[in-house]
């Protein structure tokens, strides 16, 4: 019963008669479109249109719409189509299709590209201001929660704090050690390779020591923590927001910042200096190993050189930065988490933006600290 569709147009004295036959269904979509396009050019020149549907063996929405379109073209050029021979079982469909596509959706005028660009810039500026506001708001809420804790120390969620310390601190150690060890080794190898040209191999110890303790150790660890724990915070808080858990907390008279966010951020502030210390040691160890095997600097000489090259100041400069970076990561992660809307896509979007923003801010903060320490002579 299924057969290729035909239109069989017969033009007699400017009266066009169409006898569609066969299967007018989506299975023959391409053929159907060609057929109906072929006829539509003739329609303007004719006086009357007759459509005899008796030959149609199968009809679906696509076929019915194409036939309806031909009728409408005829009507718009001034002569209504005379459609006969509609099979009973397709009458409902044809009637339905007559009702559709009556109203053209208003086509939007294309936007001026300059205006569109300006609008984008404006929106970006606005959202940057919004970000700053959200950051400050979270900082304020944290300060407030901290004051409450200081007044009533027993309201600190100790279990939660220890749990998060375990997660962002203890569980992060293996990956942090591995990465910083490799970074230290790479810095040492590159240093030896290039310093050798000047016969200055032994200065690689100064390079590794100062770079790792002042900058790289804490920076790498902070970036890793932003990616590992900041994103986890955003995703956790975001999914709590999605499932209305945060609203449930508020309606029970509890402050979500105090219950959920403060323990997380305190855990991060405690964990990051420890991780930065562990990471710096691993990097020095990696650098020392490469210096020994690749540069021929024995461990005893390496340690002796290190003793001369670095002072406690370098170590302090690195360590002072760690808690501030932790605070920035925690605030960004939490405020992005609370900005999650109802849908799963927004959870993914906020998690991404949490990681991107916290890494950006960590690097900016590092730069600010560099300027600060330089000006006070540390």
């Amino acid at each position: 019963m299924s057969s290729a569709p035909l239109l069989n147009p017969v033009n007699e004295n400017d009266i066009l008669e169409l006898r569609p036959s066969g299967s007018w269904t989506a299975a023959y979509a391409t053929t159907l479109e060609t057929l109906s396009d072929g006829v539509s050019s003739q329609i303007r020149q004719i006086k009357a249109l007759k459509v005899d549907m008796a030959g149609v063996s199968e009809l679906d929405t696509l076929g019915a719409w194409l036939l309806e379109k031909i009728s409408r073209q005829a009507l718009s050029s001034g002569h209504p189509a005379n459609v006969v021979g509609i099979a009973e079982n397709y009458a409902g469909l044809i009637e339905e299709v007559r009702q559709v596509n009556r109203r053209r959706p208003p086509s939007r005028p294309p936007r001026n590209p300059v205006v569109a660009r300006l609008e984008d810039v404006g929106r970006a500026a606005f959202s940057a201001a919004e970000d700053i506001a959200a950051f400050l708001q979270m900082l304020g809420a944290l300060g407030f929660a901290l004051l409450n804790i200081l007044r009533r120390p027993r309201s600190l969620r100790l279990t939660s704090l220890v749990y998060h310390l375990y997660r962002v601190g203890w569980q992060a150690i293996p990956i942090i050690v591995l990465i910083t060890f490799l970074i230290g080794a790479i810095i040492a190898q590159q240093g030896i390779f290039h310093f050798r040209k000047f016969g200055a191999d032994s200065y690689v110890v100064d390079l590794v020591g100062i770079l790792v303790l002042r900058e790289i150790g804490v920076l790498i660890v902070a970036i890793m923590v932003a990616g590992r724990s900041g994103s986890a915070y955003t995703a956790e808080l975001g999914s709590m927001k999605m499932r209305e858990e945060i609203d449930a907390l508020s309606t029970m008279g509890l402050d979500p910042v105090e219950v959920l966010i403060l323990p997380r951020i305190i855990a991060l502030i405690l964990a990051l200096p420890i991780l930065a210390f562990v990471g710096s040691m691993a990097a020095l160890y990696g650098g020392g190993l490469v210096a020994w095997f690749y540069g021929g600097i024995s461990p005893a000489i390496f340690i002796a050189r290190l003793h001369e090259a670095v002072s406690v100041t370098h170590f302090e400069v690195g360590m002072i930065k760690a808690p501030f970076m932790a605070l920035v990561i925690g605030i960004v992660a939490s405020s992005e988490g609370l900005r999650v809307k109802g849908s799963a896509e927004s959870l993914g979007r906020q998690t991404t933006s949490s990681v991107v923003k916290s890494i950006f801010l960590v690097i900016v903060l590092d730069g600010v600290f560099a300027v600060f320490f330089a000006s006070i002579g540390m």
């Binding site: 299924s2 479109e33 679906d60 929405t61 719409w65 896509e345």
Partner: protein
């Protein structure tokens, strides 16, 4: 073709489905007739969705057979992929969140047919209007739709290629009574205009009563009763009795008792 017996659309025979040691569907047989609206009822967690998902091939079966009787009218050049054979309305709509409503409806068309963009837009708008939405709604994203609109768009997408069979998973759940009633009417209308076979999993007693030609009751992994609504109301099976004669079902009882 024999005209005496009703033509079948789906024949499920001796189907067994289970997970681990648990058997959910236990030697179940069910015939879905061509052009009918069959409602499937069953306890929550009793395997209704499992049965539906097994029929459409999302869950592997242990034994038995699921047979789709080919559309007698278009054996020749059927659209090869699944979307041409059946349309499925998932409970949460399952609209592609990164596409607009119009793109969602066009998706099966775009994947299966070669059509000009203009015609594709017209077909999508036609489908949108057939499910009772305006063409302006086509530019919205799924996240901007209400529950009832999501279901309508999902139905429009399920119907994009005019499949012969439509599976509906709890089409009226989560809708208010007015929206649910409208949706029932819509299913009934489309069933008539497009000549659909509808397989519908539902808990909504009103839509069972109004929309379904036949109702099948699933209990203990088997179909324990099947027939028009008034037959099921007279069924003696204890679970069916409990389901249709509970407090919440009083509205279905004939007034004279």
């Amino acid at each position: 073709m024999a005209e005496t017996a009703p033509q079948l659309a789906i024949r499920v025979s001796d189907l067994v489905v289970g997970f681990g040691r648990q058997t959910v569907i236990d030697h179940l047989s069910l015939d879905v007739r061509k052009g009918e609206i069959l409602g499937l009822v069953g306890a929550s967690g009793g395997g209704k969705s499992v049965l539906m998902r097994t029929i459409i091939g999302l869950i592997p079966k242990r034994s038995g057979g699921v047979e789709f009787i080919a559309r007698s009218i278009s054996k020749g050049r059927e659209i090869g992929t699944a979307a041409g054979r059946w349309g499925i309305l998932f409970q949460q709509g399952a609209l592609f969140s990164s596409l607009t409503v119009r793109q969602n409806i066009q998706f099966p068309l775009r994947e299966n047919l070669v059509l000009s963009d203009a015609l594709m837009d017209e077909i999508a708008t036609a489908k949108l209007e057939m499910v009772g939405l305006a063409s302006e709604d086509g530019d919205k994203f799924p996240s901007e739709l209400s529950g009832g609109m999501t279901k309508r768009v999902a139905l429009a997408r399920a119907l994009a290629l005019d499949p012969a069979i439509v599976f509906l998973d709890e089409p009226t759940s989560g809708l208010d009574p007015i929206a649910a009633g409208d949706f029932d009417a819509l299913i009934k209308t489309l069933h008539k205009t497009l000549g659909l076979t509808v397989f519908m999993v539902t808990h909504d007693l009103a839509s069972l009563n109004i929309v379904c030609d036949r109702v099948a009751a699933l209990a203990e992994g088997k179909i324990v009763a099947i027939g028009p609504m008034h037959d099921l109301l007279r069924s003696e099976h204890p679970w069916v009795k409990a389901y249709f004669h509970g407090k919440r079902s009083q509205m279905l009882q004939p007034k004279q008792n």
